[in-house]
Subunit: 252 residues, 2 copies
């Protein structure tokens, strides 16, 4: 059994494309947020209860559950409650919009894969580097190639794969690059407005800027029309800073 | 100017203790969520506008802003909109409850510090390892010692400090340990219930378990009554897995 999830919601075109592509090959189930959950980061829902609505079609019977929570919630509840046995793998996406560079810390798509990895499951997050394109064919073709390799080779403990697909036609894809996470940041801009009762409010209207364009990073390789595959984990320790801070001789 | 934030909300005892401790020493301003935001991870608010309510007291005038968003939102809007010039530092906490091991990926407290680091600012996240204790005196004393060292030495680009304080009296603290992030995971348990209209719903009722108890990790050193200081960053790349995945010879 392979669990499909995302942060764009159960009925988003990206996840439905993956379902269509894998259904003939594997036992798949969608456990995804009932509504869009973009930029929720690695949130989990503690303050409210979760509901998991079974979704059935006449043709296929139960195709999954629409969950009133975040992508990480979906993975947790799928594995712990909804499935009879642990899935072989979790695939998150295809997300509308790339998840590369520093901004992956905001990504619900990536957090679902990371959550699966904390639970000891192989996981892949897949994003299409476009907010406009509705063509998920390259993404789904690549997933069909990749997931058997992940099942065959396994992944190191705690590691998942963050995959980004350039939004170009199949014949413009130059290949696959195993990459590291680049540096990027949203240059923050808030759009300040006044409501009808004279209260000030702000819309976050950021613009993504890539700060690092060296070869080998996810940002750069996708820009060069390579599919990028980045192994990620959830150890945030900056190991090379440990000694530097030890030199401060902190005492208490 | 030092920005104080948290995920327990503007009026939580932890952040108010930091404000009390630093106010005589520094120009400080609180920019914190108007309501509790625990386990929001690194969420940012895109789908809704943000409000930032100025909070004033008769004695001190403007002490800060209560923001209708997440901790990461607070940092973004403080730096980009609310302050006239960039702050010298962001301090997040004191959080009620430890933020150690793998579970820091769920932490709004830690995400505020990480967000500040993405914006090029030195930042410290501080958590008290107890959900019951109301005694933030050790935490605030340690912050008073630590923040001038951070200002003096600086931090490597993109690095922030994740500090955890054992919930024991001052004289039982054994010292300070510079640590790496340990492994822990929440052993998921959902509490399944039925609502008055016969719908099933679930409460996440997880229990934290530490999987790694080697010396040198945050979890272990706090358990041994050391204050832990972990340098963290936002590069999720698992560098030692790059070669292993390159051996798969992915093609497309």
């Amino acid at each position: 059994m392979i669990v499909l999830t995302n942060d764009d919601g159960f009925y988003a075109a990206g996840i439905q494309s993956v379902w269509q592509a894998l259904k003939p090959l594997e036992d798949v189930i969608i456990v995804a947020p009932e509504s869009e959950q973009s930029a929720v980061g690695h949130a989990i829902t503690l303050a409210n209860p979760l509901k998991a609505l079974p979704v059935k079609t006449q043709e296929h019977g139960l195709i999954g559950y629409a969950v009133s929570g975040t992508p990480a919630d979906c993975v947790k509840i799928a594995v712990t409650e909804l499935l009879d046995e642990p899935p072989e793998m979790v695939i998150s996406g295809v997300n509308h919009g790339g998840n590369m560079g520093t901004s992956i810390i905001y990504s619900g798509t990536v957090s679902a894969a990371t959550e699966a990895a904390t639970m000891g499951l192989p996981a892949i997050a897949v994003s299409l580097d476009s907010w406009e394109s509705r063509d998920f064919s390259v993404a789904t073709e690549f997933i069909r190639n990749l997931y058997p390799l992940v099942l065959e080779h396994g992944l190191p403990e705690g590691v998942s794969l963050n995959v980004n697909i350039p939004a170009v036609p199949r014949d413009e894809i130059k290949g696959v690059a195993v990459t590291r996470q680049g540096k990027s940041r949203v240059i923050e801009k808030f759009d300040k407005r006044v409501d009808p009762r004279n209260n000030i409010y702000y819309w976050l209207a950021g613009e993504m800027t890539f700060m690092e364009v060296e070869p080998g990073t996810d940002c750069e390789m996708v820009r060069e029309n390579y599919i990028s595959v980045t192994p990620i984990h959830f150890d945030l320790t900056r190991h090379d800073a440990l000694d530097r801070i030890k030199e401060w001789k902190l005492e208490f």
